[in-house]
Amino acid sequence: MSNSHLFMKSGFVRAPLQNGVGRYVPQLQRIVLKFCKTHGGSRGIRDFIEQDLVEFAKQNPSVVVYLKPRRHRSPVAVAEYLNGDRVWMSLHQKSHSEITKWIEVLRTQQGDVSATRLRKYQFTDHPSIQGPWTPFTFKDPELNVAQLPDPKFGANDRLPMTATDKLRIMFEKQKISEDNVKTGE
């Protein structure tokens, strides 16, 4: 997501009101279809209204469908959701099948999703399941019975290896391999 999208309202992936924990509530509450009865730009939506609308209303009794004919203006669908979002969509010059698909999108989404910038693609109420970190969280159990001070636990093992040490190790390795070669003969 680039910086130019920062003007969009931001949000997380969340189900509204624990939807589905108790029972599922369809989130589209009403849809208003505005169209012209004569203009060519409204042809697709007129077909949709004639052929599919009654079936749509029958299958979704939870959605209130309003039809609003207006003379010589382009067709529009306005969907209103339970969380208060209102989605305005132009259906100008759209064909019947396109409109069927867009109405399906409006019916199944839970709000104005396309105008939301997701901050993350996942969400959790509990970012940590082990609680806050303390110095005792990953403590070595061996320390419980150790008699301190002990050179084993007190040694400083955080310094990087010195050049002298590296040379010494290389030298010892070489010596061993030379010995091996000799015994091999």
């Binding site: 680039s2 130019s4 999208h5 509204p16 009101l17 624990q18 924990v21 108790g22 029972r23 509530v25 369809p26 509450q29 009403r30 208003v32 009794p61 939870s62 959605v63 209130v64 309003y66 609003k68 339970l82 969380n83 208060g84 305005w88 109420d125 509990h126 399941i129 609680g131 303390t134 110095p135 005792f136 403590k139």
Partner: protein, 322 residues
């Protein structure tokens, strides 16, 4: 208004150019100044006016109420549902209007239904929580119940069920009190239309599920966890012993102590803190959570208990009484 209507396609057209099919385009330079002018004019007119949804041409109260019932999968009595949506403020406003026009139609507001609904909800939530959290003391259950019945929670539930536009009140948008009141009244209306069990399931599905993902211990503040714990342990006759089991960074700003509580020489819980006293208190809180069965890793609360659970208040122990 005519100006806004004329320029709205312009503005929305400007926004549409932001992101089309994967390639980015710039917002036109006229968009920001136009919006600024529109905002200035709006402010001059006295702020943004939100018109009530039910004054729109496309509004049918009957259809809205039918869809409301279908959405929630409940069968409401239409008259009762209308009554539940009628706020007291609306009735007063209508009566004033009727006095001016000199006629009289009786209207019912939702106060009675709200009272019934509230009473039922309180009772049921209490019983449900007692069944769902069997080891949690009565004070804690009361705390959770108060949280669930609080105005904010009920208003949020009400808003997300779509009552905002349907409620008949003298103001719009309606405030939290009206929203919460309407929800409680809807519960009351359901109680009359579908009976107790159906209403109980409604309350369970929309109100009690608000506990999902929440820590139930947060709704009950324990002032003195150590005293409460010792009182509880004293009844059983066991021996409780706190031990310092870790200390780091003594006499520094980042000191951390760890105290373990041992019950008959077996570890019960442990807590940490910046002083020994806080560590001991945290350990006591941890131990109480274990005793009450509300640890962080507890099994999620069961939201699928059917019917109205039977009361167990008499056998349930009260912490403060001991």
């Amino acid at each position: 208004m005519a100006f806004i209507r004329r320029y709205l396609p312009l503005v929305t057209g400007g926004f549409k150019n932001v992101y089309i099919g994967g390639q980015r385009k710039e917002i036109h330079r006229y968009v920001a100044p136009t919006l600024m002018v529109l905002k200035r004019r709006e402010d001059k007119q006295g702020g943004k006016v939100i018109k009530p949804r039910n004054t729109f041409l496309e509004w049918n109260l009957e259809a809205e109420m039918y869809a409301f019932g279908k959405r929630l999968n409940e069968n409401f009595d239409p008259d009762l549902l209308l009554q539940a949506f009628t706020d007291r403020s609306y009735v007063i406003k209508e009566e004033m209007k009727q006095k001016e026009m000199e006629f009289d139609i009786q209207m019912k507001d939702n106060r009675n239904l709200a009272e019934e609904g509230r009473k039922f909800m309180k009772q049921y939530i209490q019983l449900y929580l007692e069944a769902a959290l069997p080891k949690f003391p009565i004070e804690g259950i009361n705390g959770i119940c108060d949280h669930l019945m609080s105005e904010n929670v009920l208003a949020n539930v009400s808003l997300h069920l779509g009552t905002k536009d349907i409620i008949l009140a003298d103001e719009y948008p309606v405030d939290n009190t009206t929203l919460a009141n309407a929800f409680v009244a809807i519960v009351g209306a359901l109680l009359h239309s579908s009976g107790e069990e159906q209403t109980a399931h409604f309350v369970r599905d929309f109100v009690i599920t608000n506990l999902q993902g929440q820590d139930v211990n947060e709704f009950w503040h324990i002032e003195e966890p150590w005293i409460m714990l010792t009182d509880l342990i004293a009844k059983t006759g066991s021996n409780l012993e706190p031990r310092l089991i870790g200390e780091v960074g003594k006499n520094t700003l980042l000191a951390c102590y760890r105290v373990g509580l041992y019950l008959d020489k077996k570890m019960l819980s442990s807590g940490f803190g910046e002083t020994i006293a806080t560590a001991k208190e945290m350990a006591a809180r941890e131990a109480l959570k274990k005793i009450f069965g509300t640890e962080e890793n507890q099994y999620p609360i069961n939201f699928k208990l059917n019917g109205i659970p039977k009361s167990s208040s008499k056998s349930r122990y009260q912490v403060s009484a001991s």
